[in-house]
């Protein structure tokens, strides 16, 4: 079932129907709906994962800041699948329940993030993912006071890759795995 209870809009391939070049992703079991959907166009699977994989990994900025970007962007874009998945990942990465709730917009940002530097980083993420058009200089300057240029470039790539996945998962109505839904219920963050 999809995010809002509907079925996925596209066929999610299983191991038996996985194209030759995609079979490596199915060797360890169910690769998840993003891969299972992308495998239908096998020439895109490798390049897409080749971009998204590094863009959503800890990189030089670390897992904590990366999860700020992914969970916050997914929240601003309204991607239920990605919010579900990265609520669990963020908790596993060591973010506190209060930080996760703040990134999800369940509580005010200030309640989860007393640190000015982290709020400035989230301000940059919000400006990228939650608005269109030009980004005011003061948002950039606030972030630059605390974070190196290369960190903001890396976070910008993470936000962009997340927005791609947000629209992909939302448009195709990709379903959240049952074990993730159970985890969120256990954490009181469904």
């Amino acid at each position: 079932m999809g995010n809002d209870g509907a079925m996925a809009r596209v066929e999610l391939l299983d191991a038996d129907q996985a194209p030759l070049s995609a079979q490596q992703y199915f060797a360890g079991g169910d690769p998840g709906p993003i891969v299972a959907a992308l495998a239908t166009v096998p020439e895109l699977l490798g390049p897409a994962l080749g971009f998204v994989g590094p863009a959503l990994s800890a990189g030089s900025v670390g897992l904590r800041a990366t999860e700020f970007a992914i969970l916050r962007t997914s929240t601003l874009q309204g991607c239920t699948y990605c919010i579900h998945a990265h609520t669990a990942v963020s908790l596993d990465a060591g973010l506190t329940p209060s930080e996760v709730r703040a990134l999800r917009g369940d509580i005010p940002l200030e309640d989860g993030f007393p640190s000015e530097s982290e709020r400035a980083l989230i301000g940059w993420i919000d400006a990228l993912a939650g608005a269109t058009g030009q980004i005011p200089d003061d948002v950039w300057q606030a972030a630059r006071q605390h974070w190196a240029e290369h960190v903001l470039i890396e976070i910008s790539v993470t936000v962009g890759a997340t927005m791609f996945l947000n629209r992909f998962a939302t448009g195709l109505q990709l379903p959240t795995a049952p074990h993730v839904l159970q985890r969120l219920a256990d954490e009181g963050m469904s």
Binding site: L13, D16, Q17, A18, P19, L20, S21, A39, T40, V41, P42, E43
Partner: protein, 283 residues
Amino acid sequence: MTDTLAPSRPIAEAVHAGTLPGRVWLYSNYHCNLACSYCLTESSPRSERRILSAEQMVAVAEQATELGFTALGVTGGEPLLLPWLPEAVLEMAQHLPLVLLTNGTLFSGERLERAAKLAHPNVALQISLDSHLPDVNDMARGPDNFAKVVEAVPRLIARGVQVRIATTTAGPADDPALDPLRQLVISLGVAADDHLVRPIVRRGRADELGLGVRAVARDIPSELTIAADGAFWGSFGPTVRNGRLDTDLLLTRTILPLSIPANALLAAILGMPEGADAKLGIR
């Protein structure tokens, strides 16, 4: 800086080395006037047509030549249900030798004269015939199929068309029970060397009925195969089962430029484990 060690024409070199088969197959369409029991594509008059356009087919032929492939094949469905097909085939044959697979039932009246245009040194028709016994043949292939084929073959040959016969069998290719059929084929004017015998592959409708041999990628000749739904590993790749296209042998959804699926096929072949050669004699 360019890599001086990279081959400048990787497809041509792989074909020359025997790493990559030289023939490119095209599924011109999926619909058919017959509904054979072992059909790989569940073809019938009601099938989704999945047509490659004449422009696409000619472009495949042109680009196959440029890349270094050495032959073409056109199959379906029944290709000759497409009225423009003979002209497209002749244009493709300007580039490479071509074999056109047909069920041989559409060669009467005007259609025979249209097919007679295919009397060309670069074109051969491959017609299906599965038994010397009309009832046995027609049980799998449909009513009156045997009579239509044995009538059409000499007529085509008389008009200068090159004809081959293909037999699909549930038994071994060298089964002595096929000897009367081999004699019949020769009596129709087809050379013994132009009579191809191949096993039923358990895909498509044959899979639904439990017919034929199971085959995975390494069992199937890795000929690049182009269909409306994408490019596949082998002519047994773009099969249909219960109305659903099989994607296990799908290489790319992109079919043109042909270099994209051709390079994907070559990469897949080079990624196969050593010794994974075709072993079932599927041709």
